[in-house]
């Protein structure tokens, strides 16, 4: 089985490395640094760390001000607060002004678990994806989270990085290529393609294993960058395998599945099924139980794959 590690822990570690390498990196928190792991940075570089209190709009505005004279601010909070309490600031102060602010939302998705629906961010990919100038990344594991953290500090402009609370399986190696906007094929296959991000990539790999028992060869693509989407890979996979399943820990509307379908319909329409939360709020529960109840498990991906194959034949 896979080694496990929370992506937020990897983020905290990478942030410290970044702080050491680049004095321009500053961190602003809305009082959740213990949970987001931004406190690792706070301990090492207290003079470059600011807790603005429970005030997410002010956190982002402060970051914009810090960025105006060349600092590289990381705003850290839970994905749900970072994106749902701040939309106007995201839109005007950050995106319209195209400011170099890095937005890190942890505790995304259903797997935040017992806190329930109010804390389970299932809309953030859609909300962030629609904003001009914004880059949206959802790393697959702790290793990729470190690479992403380093990389987004180098690119200019606003970036949203979506991380989880629970440990994620480690699926990649330090030596694996990583480029923003370039998908990674995790497993080759010819019968259909599963495109997933974040935690759902591991479920997709499990699903591909199960499908292979039935003689079905599923390609698995890690679409870590939701925007800009790797359209070339989407079109290539659609053309070569003839069917797509998307899988995300997010609402079915407007997220990765929506982004993929927008590309398919313009370039290479093939049958697509979406594994995602079906336009509903979550609830309290253990992460595994929630994934099962809301149909985000490997078995759900297998079922979606069968539906795609059926539509391919008809």
């Amino acid at each position: 089985m896979w080694e496990m590690k929370p992506t937020r822990d990897a983020f905290g570690e990478a942030l410290v490395e970044l702080g050491r390498a680049n004095r321009k990196v500053v961190v602003v928190s809305a009082d959740l640094e213990d949970s987001t792991r931004a406190e690792y940075f706070k301990k090492q570089f207290p003079e470059r760390f600011f807790n603005v209190g429970i005030a997410e709009q002010d956190m982002l505005g402060t970051c914009v001000g810090l960025s105006l004279d060349g600092l590289i601010p990381f705003a850290c909070s839970f994905a749900v607060f970072l994106t749902d309490r701040t939309y106007g600031v995201l839109r005007i102060s950050i995106c319209y002004n195209n400011r170099n602010v890095k937005l890190v939302g942890t505790h995304a998705g259903l797997t935040v678990g017992e806190d329930g629906a109010t804390a389970q961010s299932l809309e953030d990919l859609a909300v962030m994806r629609v904003l001009p100038n914004m880059t949206v990344v959802c790393p697959v594991d702790a290793v990729e989270t470190k690479k992403t953290t380093r990389r987004i500090a180098e690119v200019c402009g606003p970036v949203y990085m979506r991380l989880g609370r629970a440990p994620y399986p480690i699926l990649t190696k330090e030596s694996d290529a990583f480029e923003l906007g370039r998908a990674n094929v995790m497993r080759e296959g010819k019968d259909l393609t599963i495109i997933a991000c974040g935690l759902m990539v591991s479920e997709s790999l499990k699903a591909a294993d199960a499908l292979s028992q039935e003689g079905i060869q599923a390609r698995v693509v890690n679409m870590h960058t939701v925007k800009p989407l790797d359209e070339r890979e989407v079109v290539r996979s659609a053309a070569e395998t003839g069917g797509i399943v998307t899988a995300e820990e997010h609402q079915v509307n407007g997220g990765l599945g929506g982004a993929v379908s927008e590309v398919l319909v313009r370039n290479c329409p093939v049958p697509q099924e979406m594994v995602a939360v079906r336009d509903a709020f979550g609830e309290s529960g253990d992460p595994e139980g929630l994934l099962r109840k809301y149909h985000l498990k490997d078995t759900d991906i297998v079922a979606a794959a069968r539906a795609v194959l059926k539509r391919k034949k008809s």
Binding site: A55, Q57, G65, S67
Partner: protein, 276 residues
């Protein structure tokens, strides 16, 4: 009176001329916000022609004092001021709000001299504080000015920012409130009253100064005083008149966001003492 200032008569002439410029811009555009632009003229003249260290020929001079126009809809007064300072040709004012122009309807960072695009109320204040925090971190000594509208401070983010600046003792921040008392649909006091304003801001940890926002002597004295305050940001409550200088616009909510006709422009310029 500040040593770098020309005499007050010259400032009054500058204010009169900027009122003409901004009214002509709005008339030419056929839309825009005259009321809250006219109320802020003396504040901007005081800042740009006396108080702020800035170089129109070098808009990104690192040591410049920063100005953030949080009430971004009052773009005409800022654009007219910047053009007069020489940040861009005055001719360009005619392109205000027109397709392809840098002079977007609300304050736009594409215009030389503008630090931040604003226009959605309340957002500029947090950014001003962030600039000040960054300056202190980098050990750079400049001041950050932020202009807010009184209707604007009904928004919640303003109070998040108010607490933040006081908590972090940002004494390099000076916020100026254009307290013209009127918002889009009527008097601020009738819609959601702000009083007691001075006590609110004092209790939030700010050094508060109240001035007549059309008196250069009082505005400049307040800005000078703000520079001497240590350990606290300063909040200047500038009592102003919405639509100041144009008889039929003064105190009228109806002129918050409406352009004068050519005929009304003539009457307005006549009020300001221009031959028409």
């Amino acid at each position: 009176m500040n040593a770098r200032c020309p005499d007050v008569d010259a400032l009054r002439q500058k204010a009169r001329q900027l009122r003409r410029d901004l009214l002509e811009m709005i008339t030419e555009a056929g839309s825009g916000h005259p009321g809250g632009s006219l109320s802020a003229v003396e504040i901007l003249v005081s800042l740009y022609f006396c108080k702020m260290r800035h170089r129109p020929e070098e808009p990104t001079w690192p040591m410049r004092d920063r100005f953030i126009m949080s009430k971004g809809h009052a773009s005409p007064v800022l654009y007219a001021t910047l053009a007069d300072c020489g940040y861009f040709p005055r001719e360009e004012l005619k392109t205000f709000r027109k397709l392809g122009s840098r002079l977007q309807g609300h304050v736009h960072a594409g215009v030389p001299g503008v630090e931040l695009s604003t226009g959605s109320m309340e957002q500029g204040f947090s950014v001003a504080n962030g600039i000040a925090l960054g300056a202190r971190l980098r050990g750079v000594d400049f001041r950050v000015y932020c202009l807010l509208g009184d209707g604007e401070i009904q928004e919640g983010q303003v109070w998040e920012a108010a607490m933040m600046a006081a908590h972090h003792k940002l004494d390099n921040v000076c916020a100026v409130l254009d307290a013209n008392g009127v918002q889009e649909n009527g008097p601020v006091s009738a819609i959601k009253g702000l009083e007691p304003l001075d006590e609110k801001w004092s209790s939030f940890g700010w050094h508060v100064i109240e001035v007549d926002g059309h008196s250069f002597e009082e505005i400049l004295a307040a800005l000078d005083e703000a520079e001497t305050v240590k350990g606290r940001p300063t909040f200047v409550i500038a009592h102003t008149v919405k639509g100041r200088g144009v008889s039929f616009m003064e105190g009228q909510a109806g002129w918050h966001g409406k352009a004068p006709s050519r005929e009304e422009l003539k009457r307005a310029l006549s009020d300001l003492g221009f031959q028409t």
